[in-house]
């Protein structure tokens, strides 16, 4: 398989690079500033693309690779892969579901706790020496608060189960109500937002869910409500979110994703009711290795004509 060209779209995992190097002819896209020229010279040998949540495989790239047979994404979200184009051209697509579910769900709960209990502010308070002058103020309890989840897939369900251990009533919105589900369903995101204390975005990013968190939803969540986003930045109308937070129309936010990563609106840096993370939902040593193994496993299966492990297309 060493002659099979695999194009990695951006740095994502040293371990994955190392393992791809061992098995295939690996091209690191970010090392070639003259992209058009690079593609022209090498498109004959590139049969696979490995992308992630930051840089995937859009129509332009797919068209530039006539020998492309498989896109193996180092992520579960596929909003950066032109799935329709892949279907059209017969290109297979795999992702990394399940292995990262726990980490993302843990982070969602961690963000709920961190925002409500102001842990980052508390830590800053101690490190700055302010504690010597007086105690920190009241924060809000998390246990028992109503958690509303947008998207009750693998990750949404894992978040719901964790919330239950904290005695949090759980409600949700999804495209269709789930049969035999013990959580309360709301047929619209605005209604969900009106009926929960903490709103968690856990659905895939598609045309329909872009800006699913808009002004109306933010207003419904209200000055005591908290938004947690562990989905994709474009799920949220970011300028609307920023102004709501600055004006006190929204109680707080825990954000792991942003519309234009790695750029984060600087107006948020001075707020004590937000927690800002650099897209670390699946960011543990253990999970990134499992994700990498799944990418390798899918590529090996494909080129050995075996069934794909986690195909989407």
């Amino acid at each position: 398989m060493e002659s099979i060209g695999v194009l990695m779209t951006c740095p994502m995992s040293a371990y994955l690079e190392q393992e791809l190097d061992k098995r295939f002819k690996l091209f690191r896209f970010w090392q070639f500033p003259q992209r058009a020229q690079f593609l022209k010279e090498n498109c004959g040998s590139i049969r696979a693309v490995v992308g992630n949540a930051t840089v995937g495989a859009d129509a332009e790239l797919i068209d530039a690779l006539p020998k492309l047979e498989i896109v193996s994404s180092f992520s579960v979200g596929l909003d950066k892969v032109d799935l329709a184009k892949c279907k059209e051209k017969g290109v297979r697509v795999t992702n990394t579901p399940d292995v990262l579910t726990d980490d993302v769900a843990d982070l969602a709960i961690g963000l709920c706790l961190a925002v409500l209990r102001r842990i980052c502010e508390c830590d800053r308070y101690v490190r700055s020496g302010k504690w010597k002058k007086g105690d920190y103020k009241l924060t809000s309890k998390f246990s028992g608060k109503t958690v509303g989840i947008i998207g009750l897939g693998r990750i949404g369900t894992a978040i719901a189960k964790r919330a239950e251990a904290f005695n949090c009533p759980v409600c949700y919105y999804s495209r269709r109500e789930k049969p035999n589900c013990q959580y309360k369903y709301y047929p619209s995101v605005t209604e969900l937002a009106s009926n929960c204390n903490i709103l968690v975005v856990a659905c895939p990013l598609t045309e329909e869910t872009r800006h699913i968190i808009n002004r109306e939803v933010i207003d419904a969540l209200g000055p005591k409500g908290v938004l947690i986003n562990i989905g994709r930045g474009p799920h949220v109308d970011e300028p609307e979110l920023v102004s709501a937070l600055l004006e006190g129309r929204l109680g707080g936010a825990g954000l792991d994703v942003f519309e234009k990563e790695p750029e984060v609106p600087e107006e948020l840096f001075g707020l004590e009711n937000v927690v800002l993370l650099p897209h670390v939902g699946s960011g543990t040593v253990e999970t990134r290795q499992e994700m990498a193994d799944l990418v390798i496993g899918n590529l090996e299966a494909y080129f050995l004509s075996k069934p794909l492990l986690t195909p989407v297309v």
Binding site: R117, D123, W131, L138, T139, S140, A165, P278, V280
Partner: protein, 352 residues
């Protein structure tokens, strides 16, 4: 003062209770609530010196509320010859001379059940923060480093981590329940094995640490538990080990812990309490694998409300000659207490 057995309406004759506190905005709220139900004797209300106030009022007092962490010595307690009930509003009672209370047969109650959930939540917050680097990553983003330095270093997964709970009282149990939902493997040590707990039991902290990746310290501070987490225990936890303390600072050999953290012989720490609050060892401020909070695990409006409810309910039950255990539970827990918890109401076993 009134004889409680003839009291037919709570408003006609209010039972006297003594409020022992150092005034703060929080204790003022508690006092106002108590005044709705009882005749509150508070030396801070009087112009006379405390000793003279006590001489006038203490002799017939049957119930005393010790607010927050106001120290209560045997010397002071001796001035209350009729005292039967001491209501604490905190979980830990190391600021009260419990030996004296036991000798006198004074019933002591603490308030663990009122804010166990908040403390458990805080312990979980600290652990997730240390393992997933939440506060450190938040600093990274706010400093504008993300576009410049690229991806943040990876954290550690929670599922499968072996968590050892030091002290499986109300707080330890609530913490265990939450961490179990995150896939952690729970075991514990306690003065005695809890028959109703399904977690693995170790008879001492060292064995617990040797079989754990994380220690959550939530036992009470006594002479026996002072520095119970020492360097030997922390080394047994290992270089990737994490200690979380929501109990009392002196449960951990703080200088020893700082040394291990700085040397890289302990993986991380989440600390809400310190040996000499509000002083915190400066060496910790430069570490990203440490999360520090200013003894604020219970500082939420919900906990304060629950403590007030518990305090008032326990006092009402006492004056009505009703069992404290049962009534201490009503209206304060967000769920019905188990038999285990009811048995933990009184201080003898509650401060495990």
């Amino acid at each position: 003062m009134s004889d409680n057995s003839t009291c037919s309406s709570p408003m006609e004759e209010l039972h006297p209770i003594f409020l022992h506190h150092l005034p703060s905005s929080f204790s003022v709220l508690l006092k106002t609530r108590l005044q709705a139900h009882f005749h509150v004797l508070d030396p801070c209300d009087s112009a006379e010196p405390v000793s003279s106030f006590l001489a006038s009022h203490a002799h017939s007092v049957r119930a005393l509320v010790c607010a927050f962490l106001t120290p209560l010595t045997a010397e002071t307690l001796e001035l209350f010859p009729s005292l039967h009930l001491l209501v604490g509003t905190s979980s830990g009672l190391d600021h009260v001379d419990l030996d004296y209370c036991r000798r006198r047969g004074i019933t002591v109650t603490n308030a663990s059940v009122a804010f166990a959930e908040d403390v458990a939540d805080h312990a979980v917050t600290l652990l997730i923060d240390v393992l997933r680097r939440i506060s450190a990553a938040d600093r990274f983003v706010r400093s504008g480093s993300w576009p410049v330095k690229g991806d943040y270093p990876l954290g550690s997964k929670l599922r499968g981590r072996r968590v050892g709970i030091v002290g499986l009282g109300t707080i330890g149990f609530q913490t265990a329940k939450r961490l179990a939902s995150l896939g952690c493997i729970i075991s514990y040590t306690s003065r005695s094995k809890k028959p109703s707990a399904s977690f693995a039991y170790y008879p001492d902290v060292l064995e617990l640490a040797s079989n754990s990746d994380v220690l959550i310290v939530c036992c009470s501070l006594t002479q026996e538990t002072y520095h119970i987490i020492n360097q030997e225990v922390m080394r047994a936890l290992g270089k990737r080990g994490v200690v979380v303390n929501v109990g009392r600072g002196p449960l951990i050999d703080e200088a020893g812990m700082v040394e291990l953290l700085v040397q890289g012989d302990l993986g991380g720490a989440g600390l809400d309490v310190f040996e000499h609050e509000p002083k915190v060892p400066k060496e910790l401020f430069g570490l990203d694998n440490v999360v520090l909070s200013p003894h604020c695990a219970v500082i939420t409006p919900e906990s304060f409300q629950a403590v007030q409810d518990l305090t008032v309910n326990n006092l009402i039950a006492f004056f009505a000659n009703k069992p404290l255990e049962e009534l201490a539970v009503l209206g304060t827990c967000s769920r019905a207490a188990t038999a285990l918890e009811r048995a933990l109401m009184l201080v003898g076993s509650a401060t495990e």
